[in-house]
Structure formats: C-alpha cells, structure tokens
Amino acid sequence: MNGSIEVKNLSKTFKKGNVKAVRDVSFSVKEGEFFAFLGPNGAGKSTTVQILTTLINATGGEAAVAGHDVIREPEKVRRYIGVALQETGVDPDLTGRELIELQANIFGFSKDRAKERAVELLEIVQLTESAERRIGNYSGGMRRRLDLALTLVNEPKILFLDEPTTGLDPSNRMAIWKELQRLNEEKGTTIFLTTQYLEEADSLAHRISIINHGEIVATGTPKELKAQIGSDLVTLTFISDIDSGTAEDILKRQMGASEVIRQSEKLTVYVKDGAKQLLEIVRILDGEGIEIETVNLSSPTLDDIFLKITNDQEVETHGE
C-alpha cells in the first residue's frame, strides 16, 4: 500500500445517450502530492473521481489507487481513501458527533477510539459547539465541513475531493483550503482535488491537469503551465467589437490561429517576447487604421492558460 494514484488510458462511456465522459485519460500522482484536476462543468472530473473511488467502473483502461486496482480490489482501495463527493453525504437525523462515530465504527474502530476520533475531528473542522445538534439544522458550510471530517475518519492515505468548495462563502472556503494544506504538509496525505476555480488549483496544487471534454489537455506545475503558453500576454481593448473582430482577423493572419483569443471587444495575444511583439502588434493595427483603446502587457495567469487551452480545443473541434 502506498499513497499514489496510477491511471492508464482510463475511459468511461455511459450507455445512456452513449456519452463519452472520460476519454483515454492517463496520469499519475505521487505519494504526498497535491494534485488538481481543473476543468469546466461536464469536463469529466466527477466521473474520474467516481471511478477512482470505486463508485463506478471504467469502460476502458486501468487505475490503481493506494497500490490496489480499483476494479479488482475495491475493498482494499476503500480502506485507504477518504472521499468528499460534490454532494455531501450526511444523514440529517443524526447529530454531527453520532455520524462521525458511526463512520469510525464502520471503519472498524473500537467504541472508545471512535468517540475520541469524533472529538478530534469535530475540533479540526470547528464543529465542536454544534456536535450535539442534528445535521438537518446545519448550514451548507457546516455540512461541508462535517463531510470533510467524515472523509478523514480513517486517516486516509489519499483524499479525493470533488469540488469541495463550490457554493461556499469565502470564510468556509478558506477554512477548507487551510485544512487541506495542513493535511498535505503535516500528514503527507496525497490529495486529488477537482475544481472549476483556477485560483484554487493555482494556490493549492503542486501539479495540475487541465481536463476538457473528457480529455486531459495539459499537465504540469502551475509554473510549467504558465510557461507552456509563451512568456507574455498582450491584452488589447477596442472601442467596439467590430474593431476587435477586424483586429482579430488581421492578427490571426499574421500570428496563427491559436495565439489570438477574442472576448467581445477584448483581444488576448500570446507572444514569446512581450516588449518586441507589443510594438509590432500596435504597428500592424495602426497601419490598418484600427483604433486601440487600451494595451496591456502581462505574464500569464492560470486563467489565461485555461482560456487558451480550451480555446485551442474549440478551434480543433471546429476544424474537424
């Protein structure tokens, strides 16, 4: 047993509607690593989590979690993982304390040990004061925190968190971030997190895979991903989106399709050498008589990477 995840050519096609939710996905996560799966809604993040946590079977490929095959040895996998799905899984008729104790008992803890564990975990997720209240009376944020406590009961080697902060207010989100970082740093827990928030992946994860339409389109450290798209970004705004459209056509002709992205009157151009090419862009557009409202030169953020990569995919798909 170890805290790693190995995924090879994983695929999942749902019979209903013949939906290919995950297509030939491969990646590996080392023990102690904080890994993020970043992608928009419907990209295949949750399906991947459900396969890796033994809830559903893949239709192709293989995956090992904690050194055990998820299809052949699901019981072993379940012992070593903690899972927080997108929807919390709590029984509203029990109190917070009762639910944690039940979970601990199911994992084979003795009665006394289960009680101790409940005290510890309630403290960690700051629910000690609400421990004796029924979960039905908890707020959304409290339920999320309790759900996280439940995933930690068995001191998992690997934590799977499917969009753990979606819909949370900033203070609850920060509380969860902090706890995840602590677990990763102090306990060496491997973390597999999915998120739609670039900011979340950027500030938490050691390594990120970007997934879109069921495929991994890029993998790397936040730094590598930023470097991958060229060093600089030129952002131009125009007075109208007619101007930005014309400018887009002109620049695309000169610089290639994937390097220019238009969002209404805003254009983002990815360039290797910012200072030099900024002047060139301005000169070209000026020569065509297009009035530029603002120009900005910056280093890329994950948002930019995400925008560029998903845009590249669109271009490819439309080109097919």
Binding site: E75, G89, I106
Partner: protein, 259 residues
C-alpha cells in the same frame, strides 16, 4: 481495520432505528390508521356479524387481520422510505465509499422496517385485546398471526425496498406505496367472500394475495387450527416473498453495482 458483515449490519440497522424513532411522523400516521380501522369498523360494522354467514363469529376477530395487515404493510414500507432518504441525502454513496459490506448497507433499513412492523403489529393486537378480543387458538394463534404479519410484511418490504433502490426517487417510492389500497381493500376486507356482491370485486379478491392472508389469520382467530386454511396464507407469503425479494435483490445489486 474492518468488521464482520454482522457488525456492519448491526451498525447500519441501529442507525436506521435511531432515525426512525427521531421521525415519529414516519410511523405514527400508519399506526393511527391501523388502530382507526379496528375501532371504527368494529364500532360501525360489528352488527353484520349477526348475519348467518358469520356463523356467530366475533366481528372484532374478523376485522383485526385488516388492521394488522395495514400496520404490517405500513411498517414494512418504512424500509423503502429509509433507503430512498439515504439515496437522496447522498448518505447511501457515503456508505458505499466505506469498506462496509454492500449487503449490510441494503439490509440495515430493511431490518429496521421489519422491526417497526413487528412492534406496530404487537400494538394493534394489544388494542384488539383491550377491545375484548377472544382468540380461538389462544396464545399459539397470536404467534401464528404475528408470523403471518411478519411474512407478509417481509414481502411488502422487499417490494418497497426494490422500488426505492430501482427508482432512487422519493416520489416514485411514495407512489409505489399506493399499492397499499388495492391490497387492503380489494379483498374480503369487511365481509366474507360469500357476501361480496360485485362480481369484479370477487375476482379481485381471488387474485389478491391479501385475501389468503386474511383468511389464514381469521382461521386461527375464529375457527381454530385448520391446516389447509392456514396453509393458504403461508403459501401466499412464500410466493410473494420469492417474487419481491428477488426483485429487491436484483435492484440492490444494480444500485450498489458500479455500472
């Protein structure tokens, strides 16, 4: 780490019992309706037991099985409701993510439902005694009635759990419990078969397995140990349980499968 299937089943059952007790409105209405049947029908209809077809039988003993079956079906329906609630709350998935036995996860709410059924049936029989019930076969007869109630409840629990696991939806599971009405009322509910007037109702009563449950209970309550009259209830239970428990098992397999 890890428990035996018995420990898992016990843990999950205990939790189902706890949540049932914390939601008294999940069982009080059914218990009231069952007691209501007994009181109202005994109070309003007991005069018809003067008819020669009743051969001098006590109407209370005649109507008691209706009340018991109502309580049993209601209690057993708790099994399906418990499962649907877990599925909708995401707690069912939470349990599937633990090493707990898959069988225990499904069995827990069913056992709790059966226990609820057992207690409701006992209470109804108790009310019957308070109203002056006399049983031809004495204590043994009451045990037989309890067994039939549990058997019939088990068949219904299989049905309700099966519907819950298949549809995973509270409305659908709720709609599934409406079978309660034809099961109870399209039968020899108020009068013996010979006194049913409408031909369609006679046909319905013949098809309805509850009729055989009523008859076997009435036999021990009123007439005594008449083997083949008792066996019709037992046979109805065996057939119904075979069908509904198979249905529940297949639905459960599908619900915990990873397709």
């Amino acid at each position: 780490m890890g428990n035996s299937i018995w420990k898992d089943t016990w843990l999950i059952t205990a939790r189902s019992i706890k949540t049932t007790l914390r939601n008294p409105f999940s069982f009080i209405p059914n218990l009231m309706i069952s007691a209501f049947f007994l009181l109202v029908y005994e109070g309003g209809l007991s005069g018809i037991s003067q008819l020669p077809t009743f051969e001098g039988a006590n109407y209370l003993a005649f109507i008691l099985p209706v009340s018991i079956v109502s309580a049993a079906i209601g209690g057993a329906g708790g099994a399906g409701q418990g499962i649907v609630k877990d599925i909708e709350n995401g707690f069912f998935s939470r349990l599937l993510l633990t090493p707990a036995s898959r069988l225990a996860i499904v069995l827990g709410p069913i056992i709790a439902g059966m226990l609820q059924l057992f207690i409701q049936t006992l209470l109804i029989i108790g009310i019957g005694y308070l109203l002056g019930l006399e049983v031809a076969t004495g204590f043994g007869g009451i045990l037989f009635v309890l067994m039939i109630a549990i058997g019939w409840g088990l068949a219904f629990a299989g049905y309700s759990a099966g519907v819950a696991l298949r549809t995973k939806n509270a409305q659908a599971a709720q709609a599934g419990t409406f079978i309660f009405f034809p099961l109870i009322f399209l039968s020899t509910t108020f009068v013996p078969y010979e006194l049913i007037d409408a031909q369609w109702l006679k046909i319905a009563a013949t098809i309805n397995p509850t009729t055989y449950i009523f008859e076997s209970m009435r036999t021990v309550l009123i007439d005594g140990w008449i083997f083949w009259d008792l066996m019709q209830g037992v046979i109805a239970i065996v057939i119904a349980c075979t069908i509904t428990i198979t249905f529940a098992a297949l639905s459960a397999k599908k619900a915990v499968a990873r397709g």
